[in-house]
């Protein structure tokens, strides 16, 4: 079977990219798999991709990249114009241009493949509109149903019924999409992100380190994590917080950490290509998100034997974490509760070791081979 993944930028880093590349790698054992990246800004992908997966890009953003004749001038002109095909409320709207519109439309109307998997709302809608009729279109939704703004939601309502299936990360999302799509015959499946196989470092629970990871953007709630951690260090001054990730609120967070006098306890680590190695050096993973579509780092932390303390925010954490068994869920938006949860995990060393062992068991349910089997079942059902 030929399977094509269409992704915004396979060369960057982040949960969606990693999940897509790992899934493509796993499926490439038995299928002909390609990853089509709308944009390319680096020579090689940052995250690992199996050698049997073909990777190509549509719009080359690298310095000095030239579009071939006879499109050169047209590309230059259209690259300056905003996208007309992608809804301005698509979160990645700023990346798209009139040139990417043209290239995407051409690609989709020509693409010969058995299954096309698209990975975000803007691309899902384009697949529904322009993919060839014989191609089975599957849209992945990494976003929570209600997280879409009204304008793009209207487009979703209009176009998703033309898709063969929508794959959500959580069962809560599946219910929402079923309500919208059931009467059109569009299939809806829940398939979480999978965890790649391979040797994995395991935390010895010996370092007094709490780790958080994710882009430094408001939805991750790092402001609240810092405030909670300020309470933690009043009681346990030798515990450290390492925050991995980059993003637009980085300056604000550094200032807040300084204001909270966390300079001996908090480090902003930037991005890492080996988050598992860093997780295994820690003893607790903290999730302070206001919303978490799935929570891939929770699974990664589990696999490395690191229990999680998380806000019980919609939607992923509560479907992954069993509070008291492999982590702790604390009431969302409650800084005091997050601090209390972290302190409870810090002080109950036996409990933490037990949860760390349970967490490794939980992670097995998300093994990429299990996840890939579920995708293959969906393909078989849809391709018929």
């Amino acid at each position: 079977m030929k399977i094509s993944f269409l992704i915004l930028n396979a060369y960057g880093m982040g949960g969606t990219i990693r999940a897509t590349l790992d899934l493509a790698t796993e499926l490439s054992v038995r299928h002909n798999v390609e990853v089509i990246s709308v944009f390319q800004h680096a020579d090689r992908p940052f995250l690992p991709l199996g050698p049997k997966v073909r990777l190509r890009s549509l719009v080359d953003l690298r310095p000095g990249a030239k579009v071939r004749w006879p499109y050169t001038k047209r590309a230059e002109r259209l690259s300056q114009e905003p996208s007309a095909l992608v809804h301005p409320e698509e979160r990645a709207y700023a990346s798209f241009t009139a040139w990417s519109d043209e290239v995407l439309r051409r690609e989709l109307s020509r693409l010969r493949t058995d299954v096309l998997v698209t990975t975000r709302a803007g691309l899902n809608i384009l697949a529904a509109r322009f993919a060839r009729r014989r191609v089975v279109t599957i849209a992945q939704e990494h976003l929570h149903f209600e997280a879409h703004k009204p304008g793009i939601f209207e487009e979703i309502r209009q176009w998703y019924p033309k898709l063969d299936a929508v794959v959500t990360l959580t069962e809560a999302d599946e219910q929402d999409y079923r309500g919208m799509l059931d009467r059109f015959g569009t299939g809806v499946f829940t398939i979480g992100n999978g965890l790649a196989g391979g040797p994995r470092p395991v935390s010895r629970q010996e370092n007094r380190i709490v780790l958080a990871a994710g882009r430094l953007v408001p939805v991750k709630g790092y402001d609240r994590l810092l405030k909670a951690f300020a309470q933690v260090v009043e009681v346990r001054p030798d515990w450290k917080l390492r925050i991995y990730g980059e993003g637009r609120v980085s300056d604000k967070l550094v200032k807040l950490a300084t204001k909270l006098r966390l300079h001996n306890n908090v480090m902003f680590m930037g991005s890492t290509g080996d988050i598992e190695g860093e997780l295994a050096k820690a003893s607790i993973h903290a999730v302070s998100s206001r919303f978490e579509g799935f929570g891939m780092t929770i699974i990664e932390a589990f696999a490395c034997g690191v229990p999680v303390v998380s806000f019980d925010c919609p939607r992923g954490p509560r479907e992954i974490i069993t509070s008291g068994h492999d982590g702790l869920l604390v009431p969302p938006d409650d800084v005091d509760a997050l601090a209390a949860g972290l302190l409870k995990m810090i002080d109950d060393e036996d409990g933490r070791r037990r949860m760390a062992a349970n967490a490794r068991e939980t992670a097995r349910e998300y093994a990429i081979s299990t996840i890939a089997d579920r995708w293959e079942d969906a393909f078989t059902e849809l391709v018929g």
Partner: protein, 252 residues
């Protein structure tokens, strides 16, 4: 499993994985396996190609060494970092530091670095008109009885000054008043490198054991002011502790 091969092309399968890989206090490489395994351990220097057989690592030349067994790179589950373990290892005089670390691909590496005595910074306290430092004597002889010491600040191409401190066992504390650093400053920026002076010997103050490089961009200390001069400690490119004194432009 196939994904294992594709994802970690460099990692051979079928070779037993170490569950623990550490360098002990006596510079022995301690590797623990899920099952008994009697293969020979071979280290190879990644730059010179020099080989070393066995787990006694004393005298190993500086550099990065890959570890293999049965002719294949040794894969480990051990994250290769224990802050308490490294602080304990640094608890006596040594001229080289040997650490077992895990590469991002999961392979066991041994890092050998030449070291001299210094003070590993544990806390920096920029408050109450002082820059205070707490740390642990690393790779030097502990001083069992408490004695006084100095926190010395040396301006680059400039004067030096000092504040009081103490050392007891391995623990060093010291404070220098920031007014001593800013006094008579005319240049827009002056940088002071900090040292612990114990028994007349100046030891660098640095944070090197926590496995975090580039602390300059990762740690930010609060600023204090003496008039128009902003005083802010920072870690240098070499993760040593310094203080930047900057005359702030008047903003009307």
């Amino acid at each position: 499993m196939a994904s294992r091969e594709t994802r970690y092309e460099t990692v051979p399968t079928g070779v037993g994985r170490a569950v623990t890989s550490r360098v002990d206090d006596d510079d022995t490489l301690r590797i623990e396996w899920p099952e008994p395994d009697d293969g020979k351990i071979l280290l190879r220097n990644t730059e010179t190609g020099e080989e070393h057989e066995g787990i006694d690592l004393s005298g190993l030349a500086a550099g990065t060494w890959t570890v293999s067994k049965h002719g294949a790179p040794l894969v480990t589950d051990d994250p290769g970092f224990s802050l308490d373990g490294l602080v304990a290892y640094a608890g006596r005089a040594r001229d080289r530091e040997i650490r077992a670390v895990r590469s991002p691909e999961g392979i066991l590496h041994v890092l050998v670095r030449e070291v001299g005595p210094y003070v590993e910074v544990a806390r920096v306290c920029p408050e109450d008109g002082m820059v205070g430092v707490e740390g642990m004597l690393a790779y030097g002889e502990p001083r069992p009885a408490a004695r006084s010491a100095w926190l010395v600040a040396v301006a680059r191409k400039g004067p030096e000054t000092a504040g009081g401190g103490t050392v007891r066992g391995r623990r060093f504390t010291g404070k220098v008043p920031i007014a001593q650093l800013t006094e008579g400053q005319t240049k827009r920026r002056v940088f002071w490198d900090l040292f612990a002076e114990i028994d007349g010997v100046r030891l660098p103050l640095a944070a090197r054991l926590d496995d975090v490089t580039e602390k300059k961009s990762r740690v930010r200390f609060p600023a204090q002011y003496v008039g128009q001069v902003r005083v802010r400690p920072y870690f240098t490119d070499a993760d040593s502790l310094a203080v930047a004194c900057t005359i702030e432009e008047k903003t009307s």
